[in-house]
Amino acid sequence: MSNTQGTTPTAQKAPGADIKSTRAKIADFISDNGALVGLLVLCVAMFIATPDFLTPNNLLNVGIQASVVAILAFGQTFVIVTAGIDLSVGSVAALSAMVAAFTGQSWGMPPLVALLFGLLTGLGAGMLSGAATAYGKLPPFIATLAMLSIARGLTLVVSNGIPIPTPSVVTWLGGSVGPIPMPVVVLVVMGAIGWFILNRLSIGRAMYAVGGNLEAARLSGIPVKRVLVTVYALSGIFAAVAGLVLSGRLASAQPQAATGYELDALAAVVIGGASLAGGVGRISGTLIGALVLAVIRNGLNLLNVSAFWQQVIIGLVIAVAVGIDVLRRKRA
């Protein structure tokens, strides 16, 4: 259908283009910033429904609620940009937090060293998934599905199924400094790091090339395998940070922490405008996606909507957000 119509869009612009272009511009803005527009509409709707929504306290609450999923989703963004998927982030978050708690508690490591162990755990798990994908030729879905199970299993092995108190520095990450909640600070820092990697590092730009057309990237001399290992390693580190924040908030590492969070992280990335087909995705979009999810949960809580219905509504939001995205791509 598109082969014979290739020239028509430009040709159509000639007559009566003025009315059309204004409307088209608005449509363009909405579809280009669909997630942001959606988030603003949601906030206004929540404010109208319940004025409690727009209090500083509640907004900080939204930030805290968004933080863990957002950090996971930042890591996931690298992977999605390369046309991959990381299903293991929830489990890796739990394992990393557990390792930090375990090394601090049982091995008596200093808190900062324990934290480092946690981060290295995430890095290692991510590198393994990346190597399995890049060198072992496993599809990312399978490699990270395996890691999901392995990491969760190891979490249970390490903890023996029992929560472990977190080292002091991790607990501090879950607390607040003055009025500012630390999870929100970590969220901002990790977002900035993610943005910097994707936009300023050559390997970040290479991620877009690999996701857009792996073979073209390879033939241009881009080290595709290194890029792939890197994105999963980053996803692992970001998952570790998310896991540390989550355990810090609870002051203990839970064996079943962050179960199912990989799907929230995926939803945030996709709502943020990234394409599972690869080559597209922004940290800012992912942040908005995570905030959309958090605002919906928060608002529905304030409105006393049951948790069961919340799931239904979040599902609809994902479908609508991605539907808009698909329509936009068709037009482009």
Binding site: T7, R200, S202, A209, G212, N213, E215, A216, S220, G221
Partner: protein, 500 residues
């Protein structure tokens, strides 16, 4: 036997957008006769048969079946008319049994279940008609290509096909398999089945054909008896004049830049050796499947090879290392720019910069200034027509897309450019611009290796022409001594001598 043809393609034309692929071609197919379609790659043969197979409908002209003008909107309609097409890429489902493949969509049933006994009986019957004695319960994928082809023919016959279209059926068969296939075809001819036979191999035409329709550039050239001598067929197939579309300005060749020695990869190419000097354009000609693309990809490090060496300016390149080849100054413009050359969703600037993205980075940071400057300089030099450097490369025309792929290597400072079908799907204006660029590269002391299936282009732009056939170097001609016939006969003759 009545003289009314089973099928007439009556002055058919097929356009895709502004491009006319088949232009006013007439073909008659008679009962019990084998009509050969002869033409170069891209001459429009496949589009012609696709019109009969129900894949495309003609833009003008008509298809006449048994004397009545007929529309063939889809493959079902084609089947219903008793037309069966054996495509080059076989259509069998390799995991299903031979019987299920033959009877697909019409499995015999009893009490709502598949009647296996009947299914195998029918399949065996069909297989006998093509002289194939295999167990119909075997998965189709367990058969070799030749036997899979026979299964497809058996399937066509069991559908009561009266007109069989064979698209290069011998392309991947051995001599012995071809003999068997020809035996089956001759048998079918004597039973009154009409056939359209597409082949590159001139020797096969006399062996099996009755009459030959020659097409060139989508146009009807001639219809001649199959007994026409081969040199005449070659001339009809390729004989067009080389006009001034090829502005090659030869520069005196200097020191060797690229040297390839004994390059071999099992099953792809054997003992390929050549040398390209600074200032020189080496054309690589040959039929599709002769191994040209495989060789140049191996040189560029895109694929591995078994033995042999590649040296650039005297320094050997490591096997299968693209980055090393790029660092040594080799740039590959691959044959399918959409699949292998471009990130269509990314900007012109990004696409121009991929080859220098990693190498120009400092401390891992993108050299944003340098990348932007290089991109805008190259886009200007190549006159890439675009709205801005930020425009999606997928929105550009084919010619401008190709310039972006080329520009990537200009930007990276490559001195050995390997161009695989550089002007395929490129409009005439951009073609000439690409040729001019080749002149500039060689004038500046670079070397160009150009793989092309367009003979006029090879003859018009190369200083020397290397002809490949069946994975080997069939010969190297100086451009002055080469013409379409000498190149074509090298490309085709070698295959004959191997096969017959």
């Amino acid at each position: 036997m009545s003289d009314q043809p089973i099928l007439i393609l009556d002055h058919v034309t097929k356009r895709f957008g502004p491009i006319t692929v088949v232009d006013d071609v007439t073909v008659n197919v008679h009962k019990g006769k084998i009509q050969v379609l002869l033409g170069e790659n891209g001459a429009g043969k496949s589009t012609l048969i696709n019109m009969v197979a129900g894949v495309h409908e003609p833009s003008s002209g008509q298809i006449i079946v048994d004397g009545a003008p007929t529309r063939i909107p889809d493959t079902k309609a084609s089947e219903a008319l008793g037309i069966a097409t054996i495509h080059q890429e076989l259509q069998l489902v390799s995991s299903l049994s031979i019987a299920e493949n033959i009877l697909m969509g019409r499995l015999p049933q009893r009490f709502g279940l598949v009647d296996k006994g009947e299914m195998y009986r029918l399949a065996t019957e069909a297989l006998t008609t093509v002289g194939l004695h295999v167990d119909p319960r075997m998965p189709a994928g367990a058969l070799g290509i030749a036997r899979q082809q026979l299964v497809e023919i058996a399937k066509a016959l069991s559908l009561k096909a009266r007109l069989l279209i064979l698209d290069e059926p011998t392309a991947s068969l051995t001599k012995h398999e071809i003999e068997h296939l020809f035996g089956v075809i001759s048998q079918l001819r004597s039973e009154g089945v009409g056939m359209v036979f597409i082949s590159h191999h001139l020797d096969e035409i006399a062996a099996i054909g009755d009459s030959v329709t020659v097409i060139r550039d989508g146009k009807f050239v001639a219809e001649v008896p199959a007994t026409t001598p081969e040199p005449d067929l070659v001339r009809l197939m390729v004989g067009r004049s080389i006009d001034e579309q090829f502005p090659r300005r030869a520069t005196p060749p200097q020191q060797p830049l690229l040297r390839v020695q004994g390059l071999t990869r099992k099953g792809s190419f054997t003992d390929v050796s050549f040398e390209v000097r600074a200032g020189e354009v080496l054309g690589i000609a040959g039929l599709v499947g002769a191994g040209r693309t495989e060789v140049v990809r191996a040189i560029a490090g895109a694929d591995p090879y078994d033995t042999g060496t590649v040296t650039v300016e005297g320094k050997p390149l490591p096997k299968g290392r693209i980055a090393a080849a790029i660092a040594a100054g080799v740039g590959l413009v691959p044959e399918d720019r959409k699949a292998f050359g471009l990130v269509l969703g990314a900007s012109v600037e990004d696409n121009l910069g991929y080859a220098t993205l990693m190498s120009s980075a400092r401390y891992g940071l993108v050299d944003r200034r340098g990348q932007a400057e290089r991109a805008s300089a190259v886009a200007k030099r190549l006159a890439v027509r675009m709205r801005s450097l930020g425009q999606r490369v997928g929105a550009l025309s084919g010619g401008n897309q190709q310039k972006v792929v080329l520009g990537r290597w200009i930007s990276a400072g490559s001195r050995v450019l390997i161009l695989d079908e550089p002007t395929r799907g490129v409009d005439v204006g951009a073609k000439v611009e690409i040729y001019q660029l080749m002149n500039e590269i060689t004038a500046a002391g670079g070397a160009v290796v150009m793989v092309s299936s367009e003979l006029p282009e090879v003859l018009g732009m190369s200083d020397r022409i290397l002809v490949m056939s069946d994975g080997r170097v069939a010969g190297v001609l100086a451009a002055a001594d080469a013409d379409q016939r000498t190149v074509m006969s090298l490309a085709v003759k070698e295959v004959e001598s191997d096969r017959v």
